[in-house]
């Protein structure tokens, strides 16, 4: 089936640098995307979302960019901090289950390591 995947399994940065995590999706019908952060031993935590009618969305220190032409998402983290160290997943929402619900589908994840 169609899937979401991530380009880089590990990204190492220095504290204070900006981080960019990339994601490619293959389902052209996907119209809603979420970036999740997963710390060791914990469940995925919502960071930021974006709908397909947008190409950029900003949160606190994070920005998500969506390029529908090439089916690519990126997560930019400004002034990366040690507390940002985690695995980051993008998820696209596909399909219509009964009642019109989407089902989030995850890529493998990128491990972000922030060095002090």
């Amino acid at each position: 089936g169609e899937s979401v995947g991530l380009h880089l399994p590990t990204l190492s940065v220095q504290e204070g640098d900006n981080s960019i995590i990339n994601c490619a999706y293959s389902n052209s019908a996907s119209d809603y995307f979420i970036w999740y952060k997963q710390e060791s031993g914990k469940g995925p935590q919502f960071i930021i979302d974006i709908r397909s009618n947008m190409d950029k969305r900003q949160g606190q220190r994070v920005t998500v960019l969506l390029n529908k032409t090439v089916k690519h998402l990126s997560l930019q983290i400004a002034a990366t901090q040690p507390g940002d160290s985690a695995v980051y997943f993008c998820a696209d929402f596909w399909g219509y289950a009964s009642g019109g619900s989407y089902i989030p589908t995850f890529g493998r994840g990128t491990s972000l390591i922030v060095h002090p």
Partner: protein, 114 residues
């Protein structure tokens, strides 16, 4: 802040035994999900549940798996006869309504089959 809660946090079971993983979704949410994550791998969809029935399931969700919402609050995943390869983190998630809304995840249950 409302959250999805899962119990137990860690479950160790012998191969062939039945296990029940429990979840309490956020109270006004309507859509419920189970995912699993084998160590070091991606989060994989197992099943979605809406209006007291399964709405979608993946190929992983075979006859050994079942889900139930026995009362107004709990959402359970049962594995009838566990296998070693069922060892994973199992995450429950819920969504308030259908389109374009965030899925909230629990902290997971680590299932270890020995």
């Amino acid at each position: 802040e409302p959250e999805v809660t899962q119990t137990p946090s860690h479950q160790v079971t012998q191969m062939g035994q039945e296990v029940i993983l429990r979840c309490v979704p956020i109270s006004n949410h309507l859509y419920f999900y189970w995912y699993r994550q084998i160590l070091g791998q991606k989060v994989e969809f197992l099943v979605s549940f809406y209006n007291n029935e399964i709405s979608e399931k993946s190929e992983i969700f075979d006859d050994q798996f079942s889900v139930e919402r026995p009362d107004g609050s709990n959402f359970t995943l049962k594995i009838r006869s566990t296998k070693l390869e069922d060892s994973a983190m199992y995450f429950c998630a819920s969504i308030e309504r259908g389109l374009n809304t965030e899925a909230f995840f629990g902290q997971g249950t680590r299932l270890t089959v020995v």
